[in-house]
């Protein structure tokens, strides 16, 4: 499940594991939950820094873009040190995690995060005071609170409009860490930028709290769902919004899987945002939604300008062949 997206792999695997663990009625240990919180929040820092750098690039601030991506390199180092992968972490396992954190790694993480926090605070000040940025972002691509609720947008786009929607506030372990969603009222591109930057700082704080509350026990043994039959749903808060998984499994074989990715529900609001704006605003508005094209893409076969319509069996027979295994043993 990691391979759905390259920017938010952990949120997909967490949603999938949430789904499987709910279906099999497993409650993972507190340590495992906190490790997942750390992974998710590091990923959020990573994604938001990538996005803000990209936004600065769209606005013409090449230098700020470089600065953001330079800081992002430090969070990637943290990922490589604790999970062994820079992009695809493969850290979560059913009922457990792949590795434990050592004291050395915790110190490394805290040192890097302190550096990133200092820099991001400085950049947030720039975003708050710079007049050119305000001129390019304020009032561009506004979506009202009412409109956001009607369109069903999720994540920072909804929170920028003042809609208090966040999966994390429903998760007990986040509530214990004292989590409160970051909200802005206006709903334009500027509000969304501020939400993302403030969430970066909040995530750094959450990682620190999770580290301080980490119990000193050993990791439980990871399990497999061989032989399990269930039909269940799971969700997690990806950097772009709610990520929802539905899995139906029979005797350990996944019969049906459905993933609802966050960008897919955000991109619908684009039409209303673009109305009445100039051509030059299009990159800013589209960029402010944080469209991840791995989230958005769906399969469509187009031949001679016509879209082919086919059932699942036909698609399998025609394009997939027998290369896809029908059994997924663990996750």
């Amino acid at each position: 499940m990691q391979r759905v997206c390259g920017i938010c792999p952990t949120s997909h695997s967490t949603a999938f594991l949430d789904c499987v663990e709910r279906g099999m009625k497993i409650d993972p240990a507190k340590k495992v939950k906190l490790l997942r919180v750390i992974e998710l929040e590091l990923e959020r820092i990573n994604s938001h820094m990538l996005w803000t750098g990209h936004m600065a690039n769209i606005l013409g601030y090449k230098m700020l873009f470089m600065f953001f991506w330079k800081e992002r390199e430090h969070t990637l180092d943290v990922f490589e040190k604790i999970t062994g992968g820079r992009i695809h972490h493969n850290f979560s396992k059913l009922r457990s995690a792949r590795f434990d954190l050592t004291k050395d790694m915790e110190n490394f993480m805290l040192r890097k995060l302190a550096r990133v926090e200092k820099k991001v605070k400085g950049y947030l000040k720039t975003f708050r005071s710079d007049s050119i940025m305000k001129a390019r972002l304020r009032g561009v691509g506004t979506i009202t609170k009412d409109g956001a609720e009607r369109m069903g947008v999720v994540g920072p786009v909804a929170r920028g409009s003042g809609v208090n929607i966040d999966v994390r506030k429903h998760i007990p372990v986040y509530r214990e860490l004292g989590f409160e969603p970051v909200l802005e009222k206006v709903g334009d591109s500027y509000a969304r930028t501020l939400v993302r930057l403030r969430e970066t700082l909040q995530s750094i704080e959450l990682v620190r709290e999770a580290l301080s509350e980490m119990p000193k026990t050993r990791l439980p043994k990871w399990g497999s769902f061989a032989g399990a039959t269930f039909e269940s749903t799971g969700r997690s808060e990806a950097p772009r919004g709610e990520d929802f998984h539905f899995i139906k499994a029979e005797n350990g074989i996944i019969k049906r899987a459905k993933i609802r990715t966050p960008t897919f529900s955000n991109i619908i609001s684009l039409e209303g945002m673009l109305k009445g704006r100039e051509i030059g605003d299009i990159p800013v508005i589209l960029g402010s939604l944080d469209p991840c094209f791995a989230c958005m893409e769906r399969v469509m076969v187009v031949k001679d300008g016509k879209a082919e319509d086919m059932s699942e069996e036909e698609f399998r027979r025609k394009y997939v062949g027998n290369n896809i295994p029908s059994v997924c043993p663990t996750h």
């Binding site: 990691q2 391979r3 230098m63 700020l64 600065f67 330079k70 390199e73 490589e80 040190k81 604790i82 999970t83 062994g84 992968g85 695809h88 493969n90 792949r98 590795f99 400085g122 950049y123 000040k125 720039t126 990871w222 290369n323 295994p325 997924c328 043993p329 663990t330």
Partner: protein, 106 residues
């Protein structure tokens, strides 16, 4: 304003990027690179073949298994499952090349 100072400060610092092919990047200990196979330790239980989600492992006989790295996605299930620890990670990440045969670990 702070950005200007930072940019000016960068004039006197070393470049953040590395000159990669000349200068090797150090990797951390948990890094998952190419797979390594130790035929002497293998007990021929076929667990790795059963567990591989991308069907990259071909079992020929005990002590002779082929790992096709063009299909491998470094998920690490075979390494975690192997009871005899015959499959391990190496820190070699330079897997790009023009010959497919070089990407089959034997």
């Amino acid at each position: 304003m702070s950005l200007t100072f930072e940019a000016l400060g960068n004039l006197f610092r070393k470049p953040f990027t590395r000159k990669y092919p000349k200068e090797k990047v150090p990797v951390f200990r948990r890094f998952r690179g190419k797979l390594e196979y130790h035929p002497k330790k293998c007990i021929g239980c076929k667990k790795c073949v059963a567990v591989c989600p991308s069907v990259a492992i071909r079992f020929i006989r005990k002590g002779k298994i082929e790992f096709n790295l063009t299909q491998c996605m470094q998920c690490g299930l075979c390494v975690d499952t192997c009871p005899a620890k015959a499959i391990t990670w190496s820190t070699d990440f330079e897997t790009a090349g023009s010959d497919r045969e070089k990407l089959v670990v034997k």
